[in-house]
Point group: C2
Chain length 343, copies 2
């Protein structure tokens, strides 16, 4: 899922996203509740109509950004009081409130509010955080049953840090509640990659086979391929779009930094094996020029390329699964020198 934080994937028109075969976007409830306000979006016909996007949208609960962006005031059993990062105004986000906000936005998939643990965290802190997240998941689930219609789905989020016992308990409690999809949260927050893969491997057996598993906020192209192998179905990450704006472009042999002088008169495409519209038309020299000249089109074209690269990676994953050759894809990725992708 490309990330459209503020009701727009930065630099992309919906037409451009559709032409890239984007099937679903993620938008951030935290940003939208503060600006322009979820109630305003609701009055304007909901998020799809507001941003001109007619395909599915997943919204997060707002919790993650409350913990990472705002000046956190106070967290309690009922929710979290915080100061807005834009104007310092005070807000309160409860499990029920997170559902109401996402109801007003009208997303197709909404997420339960969770308590977002940092890394590293002691077992006792991870336990307390997981218990709070599971309590909130229950309240979200109950409130959702009361207010929602069948046009929206609510996913639960497994927490528990890097502790297998806590992850297992979290998964079991969510499955007991019963959700149409399950997210794995609290990863890619600073822990080593191996620790992340291990958590996924250990928690996956406790999630139903017939429900989508969504790994939140991940990751590099290699992460996608490794984590699909571990049983994950869905991802979101700002990496392709944010790197694009910083001039860092994905290729099958790692990322290139387009501002480097070596591309000044390079007539070739970003990646000669890439089928994206940018690689069909523009040289590295032109893309470097746009970046050096601080042109808007630099962000636009780089974003088209990087999103295509990510979506194409997922297409390849699906094809290799279909043809029962996924091991070959894994081997190829592990063989390539992909150090530049891992930053």
């Amino acid at each position: 899922m490309p990330v459209g934080t503020q009701a727009t994937v930065k630099g992309m028109t919906p037409d451009q996203l559709r032409s890239l075969s984007v099937e679903i976007l993620l938008c951030n409830s935290y940003h939208l509740m503060l600006r322009p306000g979820h109630a305003a979006v609701g009055r304007l016909g909901g998020l799809h109509h507001f941003m001109g996007w007619d395909r599915p949208i997943l919204t997060d609960s707002g919790g993650y950004q409350v913990f990472s962006l705002s000046a956190l005031r106070e967290i309690g059993d009922d929710g979290v009081e915080f100061r807005c990062h834009l104007d310092g105004s005070t807000h309160f986000l409860s499990p029920e409130g997170a559902i109401d906000i996402q109801r007003a936005l009208g997303s197709d998939i909404m997420m339960a509010l969770d308590d977002c643990l940092g890394f590293p965290a002691e077992h006792s802190a991870a336990l307390a955080s997981m218990k709070r997240s599971m309590s909130w998941a229950g309240r979200c689930h109950a409130h959702f049953q009361k207010v929602a219609d069948d046009r929206q789905a609510l996913f639960g989020i497994v927490q528990g840090g890097v502790y297998t016992d806590l992850r297992r308990e979290s998964a079991e409690r969510l499955v007991n509640l019963g959700f149409p999809g399950y997210a794995i949260g609290g990863l890619a927050v600073g822990e080593p990659n191996a620790a992340m893969y291990e958590v996924i491997e250990k928690v996956e057996p406790f999630l139903p086979d017939d429900r989508p598993r969504y790994l939140m906020g991940v990751g590099t192209p290699t992460d996608l391929i490794e984590c699909v192998a571990l049983g994950v179905d869905m991802f979101d990450c700002v990496m392709p779009t944010r790197h694009a704006r910083n001039g860092s472009l994905f290729t099958r042999d790692g990322r290139i930094v387009i501002k480097h002088a070596q591309y000044k008169e390079d007539p070739g495409p970003i990646d000669s094996t890439c089928g994206c519209p940018v690689c069909q038309t523009y040289s590295r020299a032109y893309l470097r020029h746009l970046f050096m000249a601080n042109e808007i089109l630099s962000s636009v074209l780089n974003t088209i390329h990087n999103l295509y690269f990510y979506l194409d990676t997922m297409r390849r994953i699906r094809q290799f699964i279909e043809f029962h050759t996924y091991d070959e894809l894994l081997t190829e990725f592990r063989r390539r020198s992909s150090s530049a992708m891992e930053e």
Copy 2:
């Protein structure tokens, strides 16, 4: 002509420009000679290939930006020495050099180098400047005959400030040289609108009927309509694109400033009479949100709308001319309160 200063119309892909029926772009030789360099553009296949634009391009000579952007060092009969506004490096632009630069860029229409007079200017200063411009026009013309092929055209530029006698002399000297098109330069530099219109009215009879007349750097929608009535065929202006990025949007009733609070929950389009793709899809509320959130898509969508407005104005002009009802269009525009357009 939309302005694509640095080999891109800010925020627009070539596809978006084509879907707006843009027929020709202007690019600035001054910017391109300094970054990425005209020779580099030439080695990369010329400006069309470099920027992925397969329709005509007009380049200016670079003179106007030398006078307005750079730290001017010294002007002499042979040309002008100046310091680059980017890195302070010293460059020399001669009439022959301006042709060579535009040859390397490979534009379809190139412009003669002229001496750019400020406003106000005494008659004696305007006379000296015009004489220099005409001398340079002659040298450009001669050099062009030597080096050019039939894939490029060179236009001359009438100068002479607000002085009718100088404008007439300039026009006659250019016509004696013989160009496939004639520009009127040195206007819209601070003089009152009435003075600009008067200069055009006075100089027009001395330009051939069967050659395009191009008014450089103009202007508002009303300017377009008034100046076509005075005999002008071509225009370029940053106004639609620059205003777009500043959130100032053209409508048939003047410009609106999209950040104003009154649009916060306005579900209507920018202009209910507009046929552009932005007005078909997005509300003023969404466009205000994008602007307030400093999103790239704000510049993109606003630019699409403003360019459509300008191009549609030119389409209407052509239709009214074709149906011999141009006076009605003039009357309509003069009747409407267009004060907001005139800033």
